[in-house]
Subunit: 328 residues, 2 copies
Amino acid sequence: MDLKQVADGIRNFEGVTRKKPIEGIVEIFESVRSEYGGTLVDFGDDAAVIDIDGNDVILFAADSIWEKLMKASPWWAGYTAVLANVNDIAAMGARPLAMVDVISSSDKDSCNTLLKGITDGIKKFGVPMVGGHLHPDTPYSSIAVAIIGIAKKDCIIRSDTAKPGDSIIVAYDMDGRMGPNSPYSWDTTSFKDPETVRNRYLVMQTIGEKKLATSGKDISNPGTIGTLGMLCETSNVGASVDIDKIPFPDGVELEQWLKVYTATGYILTVNSENVDECIQVFNDAGITASVIGEINDTLKLDIYNKDGRETVFDFNTDDITGITCKND
Amino acid sequence: MDLKQVADGIRNFEGVTRKKPIEGIVEIFESVRSEYGGTLVDFGDDAAVIDIDGNDVILFAADSIWEKLMKASPWWAGYTAVLANVNDIAAMGARPLAMVDVISSSDKDSCNTLLKGITDGIKKFGVPMVGGHLHPDTPYSSIAVAIIGIAKKDCIIRSDTAKPGDSIIVAYDMDGRMGPNSPYSWDTTSFKDPETVRNRYLVMQTIGEKKLATSGKDISNPGTIGTLGMLCETSNVGASVDIDKIPFPDGVELEQWLKVYTATGYILTVNSENVDECIQVFNDAGITASVIGEINDTLKLDIYNKDGRETVFDFNTDDITGITCKND
């Protein structure tokens, strides 16, 4: 395996480079945000966290689906819109409560197929769609979904709180298959019964309640290393990853796997004394989990194996989203 | 004034007819919703209401902006996206907490202008944007915003709870001007300071806490009579409206006014013993309010004046959204 080629491939992967414009939008909204209290976490995490009574917090997120996927498969776009939103909440250790959507449609047939995908997602993940807006007459088709969840304030898993010395754990549901619409989409849910799916995504709630993780994030479009990069960037830390320790499914190349949206997949950072219990919690839920490296203070994300070492991101000079935690 | 022409004009107004496709989408989502607890109100109201602890409720809504307006003025589209979402929460007697957005943009300049509109909306209405998603590379431009708010469970103002015999009150901020982009948009906020704007939209919270209204709804794209029609439809009641009692600004024709998105404007139904106090609360906040008619059990919405009477909507045969309250 050519490590440099792997590093370049991740750095230039569309799932990673497409995150860049977030930076500008965050600066704009941050500039007018300082006067509002109650928001504990906002941009840079999967969901914003809003303190409502000093004890419980409401998590609030929005996600939409790449137009490419809308065209390739409206069903999959609707289903994935639910999946991605549920993951945003679940990854932070919260319980999803409800969703709303805004759908724009140019064509009745694809709109109906999209709605079928959303409905199947609702049934699978067990989170109701409680409102929204349909534009039936647009020249394009799109779907945006927002979601809220609830958690105890001291149990949420943030992505801006990784510390040097933490172990990095990656957790995947390996019982899956490569998605029909993309070589970078791993389907772990469409063929499973709802109870199994819900038990697997709620594993992060258990980890949050047991306080086993110092930080965490769901693996989304930027893939495993890209997602870890975003976590390092917002936490203002570096990381060193032994890529030979990353588990991947039979029949898939590691280089491809590192760019995959893993559906039920998480990156966590964990104090060394909690590593075994954390892995056990994942295993009990049917999820494969392994230590793949360590957080450090270099502000670089390196991958290594027995043949050498390569820097994928150097946050001294590179940005993924450009969002760095300003909380501490 | 030709009452039949007024009634036909409202019934065929795009702001009203465009609500029709909601019906299909609600049926689809209702069919998979029955198993989920905690949702007190969903489709048919401005926001869904989710019970979190038996005492407080979270309100959750989404809105997006007509593509026409996106093209006419990206600034106004961004600003109005904030306004419309804040109104969805405020109209139900709740305090807005936070928003998230999904923005798709085909063109950097109009995207920046849109972001400026959103930012100005955040400053004006005092509700932070805490997260979201930007698609910088779509062939179209669109904005969807979702919002959450909080209220005491027993203080929320719903739109499916009007009862025969209730007085109908309309409330408008008359200190406005016709919007630059549409003859059906009344701007009551862009030229006012934030404190005045916030005090006016929070008037509904006072009305909710004093339990002065049996139901209410903010006047949106369907205009005054169209919005009352939606309220009657979800409440499964009829209404009789004396259109000569509807206040309207100097320099605007009533027929036009009835189709206007009034920005800070509400329809309420009120027990007769609370009418005076309700109007006083509005007046104290600088908002004009008048009794314009009465709720009845005819399932028809009639307008009348000294010259005659016309039925605008007959819910025995017509639908606006097709959503009828199934709660009682």
